[in-house]
């Protein structure tokens, strides 16, 4: 087993995975940087150089889901499963897992949890709670922290069994639930904002339905490819002309 100090150094380097993100091989240099303290212990001289060259191959996954993946990579490297004969060699494992893990991480963290936490924080903010940004950070970073710390440790301990474990968590289903929750929260947020604005402007509440129609229309324009920047600038100009 790798010494605890080495595993801690790998863990501390994990947040820097994307520091040298590039179009050619995306996170590959980051992977090498993270794994290097362990590789240096496992290999010597020419073997170390060859191991480093292997890890400079194309790599791209979700930065948080990289933790369990790289934990397993550490275990496979330590077990010497870099060539035919092992259950699966390191390069095959990385190539096989990075895309599905990226899809799961993107859907859960970027597409599910981030909007959910953001809209909840906005609801708190428009309700007058000054600590709304802190709530956002807490809500997002608890699962983020778990993915990093438990992910790396779990991947290292469970080796290839980690894949089955991650599948068991049904992360894509969790992402869908988060998106549905976001839809509900957005509805509540829109209702509060529309109600407050109509009251302030002394407009009858029945016009709330009209505002809702404009949301649907703008959503349709967005789907047609009209950029958010154009939409907001056009809306602002129109409102300034009408109200001013």
């Amino acid at each position: 087993m790798l010494p605890l100090g080495v595993r801690v150094r790998v863990l501390l380097r994990l947040p820097l995975l994307q520091a040298s993100w590039n179009y050619e091989r995306m996170q590959s240099l980051g992977v090498l940087y993270i794994l290097f303290p362990a590789l240096r212990l496992i290999y010597r001289d020419e073997d170390l150089v060859r191991a480093c060259q292997r890890h400079l191959a194309y790599f791209n996954t979700h930065p948080f889901m990289a933790a369990p993946l790289l934990g397993t990579v550490l275990a496979l490297e330590e077990g010497g499963e870099t060539a035919v004969g092992g259950a699966m060699d390191v390069d095959e494992f990385k190539a096989m897992c990075m895309a599905p893990f990226a899809a799961m991480g993107d859907a859960l963290f970027w597409g599910g949890l981030r909007p959910f936490a953001a809209v909840l924080a906005l609801l708190l903010a428009v309700s007058g709670f000054w600590w709304a940004p802190l709530a956002f950070l807490l809500l997002f970073n608890l699962p983020h922290g778990v993915a990093f710390i438990a992910g790396l440790g779990g991947g290292y301990r469970q080796r290839l069994g980690m894949i089955e474990r991650i599948q068991g968590y049904r992360l894509p289903d969790l992402a869908v639930r988060c998106k549905e929750g976001t839809g509900l929260l957005l509805g509540a947020l829109s209702a509060i904002l529309v109600g407050d604005t109509l009251t302030l402007a002394e407009v009858p509440p029945i016009w709330g339905a009209g505002v809702l129609l404009s949301v649907l229309l703008l959503g349709g324009l967005g789907r047609l490819g009209v950029s958010t920047l154009i939409l907001i600038l056009f809306m602002s100009a129109a409102l300034m002309i009408v109200c001013g």
């Binding site: 509440p205 949301v215 939409l231």
Partner: protein
């Protein structure tokens, strides 16, 4: 344009939150709901910063930082827009029109962020070449150290975007304010509604899910009817 040290403080925040966007940690202090109040707090008015965060947070929430896609830099728009409003004299939520005008100026200027981010990623491609050269020379430790230089490229991209917003913004705002501030003032409540609603609309449009749209409509009507007391 009069220089204010507040631009310098905001520039330091732009570096910090800009690195969080891609290069380090990704705790999401880069999101407008955090970056704008943070800027406001450092410059002396966290409430105005929070208003900026509320206005900007939803606009590009649906744009995912996936693969080679570079989403619009709402981080630097939040920092730059808040800094512009506060340096131009906004104080307290009663100065919402000046904040709105600052954000309307910062929004198009923030487009430069995608260009600077693209440059940083191109620069990082060179690091890969240098790392490979070091490995060929049998220097693996030196090869890994190139990785950290990527932080400098991303930091420069953040700073470039911030300056790309603040420099022209501080020239444009005093010139535009006499003409546009009265109109913005008249339409401020509607503009304050338009920002989140445009973001909501685009977000729902991006999801392309009838079920989520149905949930949105259900929650809207439930909360609206409860609040308005029909």
């Amino acid at each position: 344009m009069a220089f204010s040290p507040d631009y310098l403080y905001a520039g330091l925040i732009s570096l910090l939150v800009g690195l969080d966007r891609t290069a380090v940690l990704q705790l999401l202090i880069c999101r407008p709901i955090v970056a704008a109040p943070l800027t406001g707090w450092v410059l002396g008015d966290s409430q105005l910063g929070l208003q900026a965060g509320i206005l900007l947070e939803l606009l590009w929430l649906g744009r995912l930082p996936v693969g080679a896609a570079i989403p619009p830099d709402d981080t630097q728009i939040a920092v730059g827009g808040t800094a512009l409003a506060l340096v131009m004299g906004a104080g307290g939520v009663e100065d919402l029109p000046l904040l709105l005008l600052s954000l309307l100026v910062a929004l198009p200027l923030g487009k430069c962020g995608q260009f600077f981010d693209h440059l940083a990623r191109l620069g990082n491609g060179r690091l890969l070449v240098w790392a490979e050269k070091d490995l060929h020379l049998g220097r693996p430790l030196a090869a890994t150290r190139w990785h950290l230089l990527g932080l400098v490229f991303f930091a420069l991209a953040s700073l470039g975007t911030y300056l790309g917003i603040v420099l022209p913004g501080s020239l444009l705002l005093p010139w535009l304010a006499p003409y546009l501030l009265p109109q913005v003032g008249e339409s401020a409540p509607w503009l304050f509604l338009a920002f989140p609603l445009v973001g909501t609309a685009v977000f729902l449009g991006t999801l392309r899910s009838r079920r989520i749209l149905a949930l949105y409509l259900l929650a809207f009507f439930a909360v609206y009817l409860l609040r308005e007391g029909f």
